[in-house]
């Protein structure tokens, strides 16, 4: 589904990604772990289309089609979704209105009809309930005054509503209490399917007990320096990143 080859990206004069390679197939769950500042969020945001980053080399393909030339909204229409590490607040735009606009925009881009408003509200309520969001929260401004954990649940709620094919979760587990962690994991697990893939950025092996990955990658210094099965996460938990830091530092 997603093929990333030798991806280099920079901000202003500073190169952050120094050649990332990654192959994610439909149905798979990939975890990316790595020390602070190693470029995990940068990779996630480059894939979602954030303008601040300039790709200088390499490519990213979604089902063989170039992603990097598309606007963020076009990527969303093709099924790319990023759950942000730091979701922004948008006072004055209700969650409900925001999601309906998003869903309709995606449907329009795919040549589908707009959602039926009644049907939409029904689905919205059902899915919101699954992540513990009530009516008042749905009607509030997007992330307006939400706690850290509520924002993360809202990201998962949006993912459930938009039903993307490639779900990129950037530290969605950070700052969650144990119940919220379970809610987030259940949300992801309920969406696992043979034609959907997940790229999960996390610092904690704990999340991977709930969302069991097929592959684990270690990112250090803007590169994926090691890949393996889920046991790699356990190893990292024990030994830390010291063993890879040298490799990263040479870059």
């Amino acid at each position: 589904m997603l093929t990333v080859k030798n991806l280099h990206a920079r901000v202003e004069d500073k190169e952050i990604l120094h050649g990332v390679d990654l192959q994610v197939n439909a149905g798979e769950v990939h975890a990316i772990m790595g020390p602070n500042g190693s470029g995990k969020s940068t990779l996630a945001q480059v894939l979602a289309g954030k303008e601040d980053y300039e790709v200088t080399e390499g490519e990213a393909l979604l089902d063989g089609e170039d992603l990097l030339d598309l606007d963020p909204e076009e990527r969303a229409a093709k099924g790319v979704f990023l759950a942000f590490q730091y979701p922004v607040q948008i006072p004055g735009v209700s969650n409900a209105y925001f999601l309906r606009s998003a869903l309709n925009a995606i449907r329009k881009a795919r040549g589908e009809a707009e959602v039926d408003p009644m049907e939409f509200m029904k689905t919205l309520r059902e899915k919101a309930a699954k992540v513990g969001m009530d009516d008042a929260m749905i009607q509030r401004g997007v992330n307006e005054g939400f706690s850290g954990g509520e924002k993360k649940r809202n990201e998962i709620f949006q993912m459930m509503m938009l039903e993307p094919r490639l779900c990129i979760l950037d530290e969605t587990d950070s700052g969650l209490d144990i119940d919220a962690l379970r809610i987030v994991a259940d949300g992801v697990n309920s969406m696992r399917s043979p034609d959907r893939a997940f790229l999960v950025v996390t610092h904690y092996q704990r999340l991977l007990n709930y969302i069991v990955p097929d592959y684990v990658h270690v990112m250090v210094g803007g590169r994926i320096v090691k890949s393996g099965g889920r046991e790699l996460a356990l190893e990292l938990e024990e030994k830390g990143y010291a063993q890879f830091e040298k490799e990263g530092a040479t870059v």
């Binding site: 979602a48 289309g49 954030k50 303008e51 606007d71 963020p72 909204e73 990527r75 969303a76 229409a77 979704f81 990023l82 942000f84 979701p87 922004v88 948008i90 006072p91 004055g92 735009v93 925001f98 999601l99 606009s101 998003a102 869903l103 925009a105 995606i106 881009a109 401004g141 997007v142 949006q158 938009l162």
Partner: protein
């Protein structure tokens, strides 16, 4: 320099000689002293501190007709009516277009002229006594022409549940100097909506006085709009007594030149007052809000939140004065003026002006001038919303903070639609 020259050689004849002459000796004297003052001071220039950023050339470079009867208006009175509605066109109350609805006993509405003639005792004690026309040249000009308008009176303890709407229009090529006088006595309640519109080549010069008694509760929404070739000057002063709550918002949708001098005098204790505003400017429009909140007594709070959205090469001006007089301890006052610029050529001059003569007070103010937040844009786009639509949503959201406070639902809905549509992609505003 050239602007001053334009102002000095104006086409606008203030027509002080053709001002009305009816009324008792007090009213005649009131007009005369205002006329004398205006003759002496004339139109303000850019050298005048209060007019530094606003040239009155768009007003004075035109000539207008001071009409003896209301003209035909292009303004959609019926369409914009959201409740009981009183209409004043070209400075004359128009009974045919007005509909009073049902007013409870103890609340009354009169055309100003009729009120002056029948009940000068009460009217004369309030008319022209609140707006300090020696400080506001256009209020002096209005007072010199004092003729008609609306008087709204709510007696002690009477709460008017249904909102009342008053509409002031100046039709093409005309000048009008209407008045609005509102008196809410002790314990009274009122929800008021006013709407002003100046058509092409018209000049609407409104003066409003609001007397809000002890423990009264007043909710006041003001709407303003003008043609790109029209001018609107509105001078509004309210005096609030103890324990009262007065909440206002002024929504300016546009206009060639719009100038506001709005303020509340807090003349009692434990008052809650809000002075909010939203102004939208585009093309070459010029929108100016000068405001004041005058804390004269202790233990009052005031909140002021003005937001501007400027496109094209529009100019916004905000000047917010807050006075905390000697002895007005425990004053809690917050002022905010945020502006969103949608184009490179749009500009804003924002100036807070705090004058504090008491020591135990809490006063904060803040002003921002900025563009749409890129991280918010990216968030919406990453969810599939196209760039232009995302801009529309975020621009509307900025405005909505003020709009959503409007209590009257039909009006709020009308404005939501109107303002949202204004930011529709492809509706190029240059």
């Amino acid at each position: 320099m050239s602007l001053t020259a334009v102002q000095e050689s104006h086409a606008f004849d203030p027509a002080l000689e053709s001002a009305p002459t009816w009324g008792n000796s007090e009213l005649v004297a009131l007009r005369k002293s205002a006329a004398d003052l205006f003759r002496q001071k004339g139109f303000p220039t850019l050298k005048d501190e209060e007019w530094r950023y606003t040239s009155v050339a768009p007003i004075t470079s035109k000539s207008y007709v001071l009409a003896a009867s209301p003209g035909k208006t292009e303004h959609a009175i019926a369409e914009k009516r959201v409740c009981a509605n009183l209409v004043v066109i070209d400075g004359h109350f128009v009974p045919e277009l007005s509909d009073l609805g049902r007013l409870p006993k103890g609340a009354a509405v009169f055309p100003l002229r009729e009120a002056c003639e029948k009940n000068w005792g009460q009217v004369g004690a309030h008319l022209g006594r609140l707006v300090d026309w020696s400080f506001y040249p256009f209020a002096a000009l209005n007072t010199a022409h004092l003729n008609d308008g609306i008087v709204l009176w709510v007696e002690e303890g009477v709460v008017v549940e249904e909102p009342i709407q008053v509409t002031f229009v100046a039709t093409a090529g005309r000048v009008a100097h209407p008045r609005l006088l509102v008196v809410v006595e002790k314990g009274g309640g009122l929800q008021l909506i006013s709407e002003c519109y100046a058509e092409k080549d018209a000049f609407l010069n409104l003066v409003e006085e609001g007397w809000y008694g002890e423990s009264s509760a007043v909710r006041y929404t003001r709407l303003q709009d003008a043609d790109d070739e029209g001018s609107l000057v509105a001078t509004f002063t309210g005096k609030v007594l103890g324990e009262a709550s007065v909440e206002t918002e002024t929504v300016t949708l546009g206009g060639g030149l719009v100038r506001n001098d709005s303020g509340l005098i807090l003349a009692g204790e434990n008052i809650h007052a809000t002075l909010d505003g939203l102004y939208l400017g585009t093309r070459k429009q010029h929108i100016d809000h000068h405001t004041f909140l005058d804390h004269t007594m202790p233990n009052c709070n005031s909140f002021e939140n003005y937001k501007g959205i400027l496109d094209g090469s529009a100019v916004g001006v905000f000047n917010g004065k807050i006075f905390v007089r000697h002895g007005a301890q425990k004053t809690d006052s917050k002022q905010s003026n945020r502006n969103l610029l949608l184009s490179r050529d749009a500009t804003v001059n924002s100036k807070p002006q705090l004058e504090i003569f008491a020591d135990d007070v809490k006063c904060t103010h803040g002003a921002t001038i900025g563009q749409i937040e890129p991280s918010q844009m990216f968030y919406l786009q990453s969810r599939g919303i196209p760039k232009e639509h995302a801009r529309q949503i975020l621009t509307f959201a900025f405005a909505n903070e003020i709009i959503e406070k409007i209590p009257h639902e039909p009006l709020r809905k009308r404005l939501e639609e109107e303002i949202f549509a204004r930011f529709t992609p492809g509706r190029e505003e240059t």
